[in-house]
Amino acid sequence: MSKTALPRNTTRQAEAMLYGEAARKLHRVSGAVIILFVLVHVIVQAVRHAPIFATANAAAPWLQALQEQNWVHAILFFCIAFHTFYGLKLLAGELGFRLHYKTAFWAVVIVSALIGLREVLRYAGI
């Protein structure tokens, strides 16, 4: 806010992607995915390993296969990375670091996507 500027060219504002809206929704969805994963993970591990749930474990052989799906890991790692990095970006802003909303959004999305992609590649043995 240091330069004096005339109103900018706002002729196509309604067509532009609303970065703040996308980031805020993605932040919430990724947070919800993480919480959901933790809940499901605790239950599934209990079913798979606790003797008391042995019958349930025998009836659900797909649980092992589910937790080895690369897309599950990719989504989870993307969500963890996005939620963490976007949260850090918000914190950094309040501590005085000036980050452009558009650059920061794409940086966080790309880094998170690469972390998610790494899981897919890892499963593919690359």
Binding site: M1, A16, L18
Partner: protein, 233 residues
């Protein structure tokens, strides 16, 4: 050369004295591809719906009067280029007086409540007061807020929480930075719901005057965490 196009504008109509509920009416307009949304609204008013209520003043993006929502995004109608398919609505969350005209009573009351003129400790002595050129430039830029309420309309925190809105935070920050102002602007900002802001910068993206209310909020928050005063930044 601008070319001819057919536009379809779906406008939210509501006259509280006649209509029980708001409804949408669709208008076909023959226009040019370089028309602004305001040109479309004016064409509808002049040729198809003489009772359509809307408002504008400068037509140059300087007054903020013509702000409306186009396809769900708050914009200045005089600046936004028309689209082949448009849904035009009044700004939310303000009460609608009629069609595209909103009641700004609450907005004006909030501006008045925040006392957005420098609160001096002593009487004005008269004559010009010295001010750092860099600070003067910054204050001048912050003062260019059009009060169009585009940021308030787009703000998700305003929609979800008890938050006055980004425009008011910007003006409070403006006063906080003003060298002769002695008001406790940080406390005012907190009372107005500053801590409810998501920091999403949607206000920064939407502001037609190229201001960043989100940055003003971040500066207030930084001041709240680390102490210090906006006067010395």
């Amino acid at each position: 050369m601008p070319s001819d196009i057919k536009l379809r504008a779906k406008i939210r109509r509501y006259d509280p004295s006649v209509d029980a509920e708001p409804h949408y009416e669709t208008y076909e307009v023959a226009g040019k591809d370089n028309w602004r949304v305001l040109d479309v609204i004016r064409s509808v008013y002049e040729h198809q719906a003489g009772d359509l209520a809307y408002q504008f003043a400068c037509r140059a993006g300087r007054c903020g009067t013509c702000a409306v929502k186009v396809n769900g995004v708050p914009v200045l109608a005089c600046q936004e280029r028309c689209k082949p398919e448009m849904r035009i609505e009044p700004l939310t969350p303000f009460p609608v007086l009629r069609d595209l005209v909103v009641d700004r009573t609450e907005v004006e009351a909030r501006y008045e409540k925040h006392a957005l003129t420098p609160q001096r400790a002593t009487e004005y002595a008269g004559g010009p007061e010295a001010i750092e050129p860099k600070l003067a430039e910054e204050l001048c830029h912050m003062d260019s807020c059009l009060a169009c309420m585009v940021c308030v309309s787009g703000c998700p925190a305003v929609a979800e929480r008890a938050f006055d809105g980004p425009a008011f935070m910007l003006k409070l920050r403006h006063m906080a930075k003003h060298p002769v102002d002695t008001g406790n602007r940080l406390e005012q900002a907190i009372d107005a719901g500053m801590l409810e802001c998501f920091g999403c910068d949607l206000c920064t993206q939407l502001c037609p005057a190229d201001l960043s209310p989100a940055q003003a909020i971040r500066e207030f928050r930084r001041e709240m965490i680390f102490g210090g005063s906006a006067k010395h930044e």
